[in-house]
Amino acid sequence: MNWLPLWLACGLLTFAIRYSFIALEGHYRPPSWFVRWLPFVPIAALTAITVPELLLVSGKLAIGTDNPHLWAGLVAIAVAARWKNTLLTIASGFIALGLIRWVG
């Protein structure tokens, strides 16, 4: 695997995103629709990655007891909504997964 060019490409892109508005400050004002749309980006992107991970098992929809990740994920969603704490959310998901596997 030719990893160094791939790492550099990903790193440069990430850096460009972080530098973007810092570099533009004072030279350019982004259009208002762009500023209004920006907050939806992380929500749409991360949810698109997460939901299939929770709902599918080997590429097939699984919403029963054969899918412990779904139920553990729902516990984590509830914890995240209630406490808004990253560490607590991740820990609750792993603990729920462990309990579900132990019981089932």
Binding site: M1, R18, L38, P39, I43, A48, T86, I90
Partner: protein, 230 residues
């Protein structure tokens, strides 16, 4: 008053604000190191990714995509998609950093992560005109950088000795849940999440996870459309 804050005090203020977050970041970094090795990434490459890319959840996804044999261009696109949220932080800190020399802007942009931003921004907003405000962000950014390098290195060193079936990959969706759920504070954002999730499941059969991009765009458009209508 914060205006009289010395450089060293501002730096340490930033470090102290970040330290509690390392509790969450360190296990995540260790898990990244383990998963990177399990995805077939050489140990040196796994360690170097932490300084060259330096973005936790993107590194996770990149490792998993490589493990799944995804093409390079798609992997770069996925990393960009995940990290696009950092443009928000860039816009937010830009006015505070406006008068600094370019080398400072380059350094602080490299260090601008979720955690560094979250730790420093309350202090930056409290006194944005302070001549040492950027040292607070540097303190937070540096503390996270050091913690991330150490924890991912630990994961790579441990990784070779751990069994492959620990189920640690579940940390990625859990982390995304922890980021996204608190962001959903109105109906337009909920619509964006629901549409993105449903479309992602419908398009999951598309090769190399390309359905993710379509799903993210659909969610973005749905959320923006719903937000404009109201």
């Amino acid at each position: 008053m914060p205006t009289s804050l010395k450089r060293s005090s501002a730096f340490l203020l930033g470090v102290r604000a970040l330290l509690p977050m390392l509790l969450g970041v360190a296990p995540f970094g260790v898990i990244y190191g383990v998963i990177a090795l399990q995805s077939g990434i050489p140990p040196l490459a796994a360690v170097l990714m932490s300084s060259l890319v330096f973005a936790g959840s993107a590194q996770f996804l990149l490792a998993q995509l490589i493990g799944a044999g995804a093409p390079a261009l798609l992997s770069v696109g996925a990393v960009g998609l995940i990290n696009l949220r950092h443009a928000l932080y860039s816009a937010s800190v830009a006015p505070v950093l406006h008068a600094l020399p370019r080398r400072w802007k380059l350094l602080l942009a490299y260090l601008l992560t979720d955690e560094a931003y979250a730790a420093a921004i309350p202090h930056l907003l409290a006194d944005p005109k302070s001549p040492t405000a950027h040292w607070i962000l540097f303190g937070s950014g540096f503390a996270l950088w050091a913690g991330w390098q150490l924890s991912t290195l630990t994961g790579v060193l441990l990784g070779a000795q751990l069994p492959a079936d620990l189920g640690l990959e579940f940390a990625l969706p859990l982390t995304f849940i922890a980021i996204v759920v608190p962001l959903i504070d109105n109906r337009a954002r909920l619509v964006a999440a629901l549409v993105a999730g449903v479309v992602a499941v419908l398009l999951v059969t598309l090769p190399y996870k390309t359905g993710l991009f379509a799903a993210a765009l659909a969610g973005l458009a749905a959320g923006a459309f719903f937000g404009e209508k109201r």
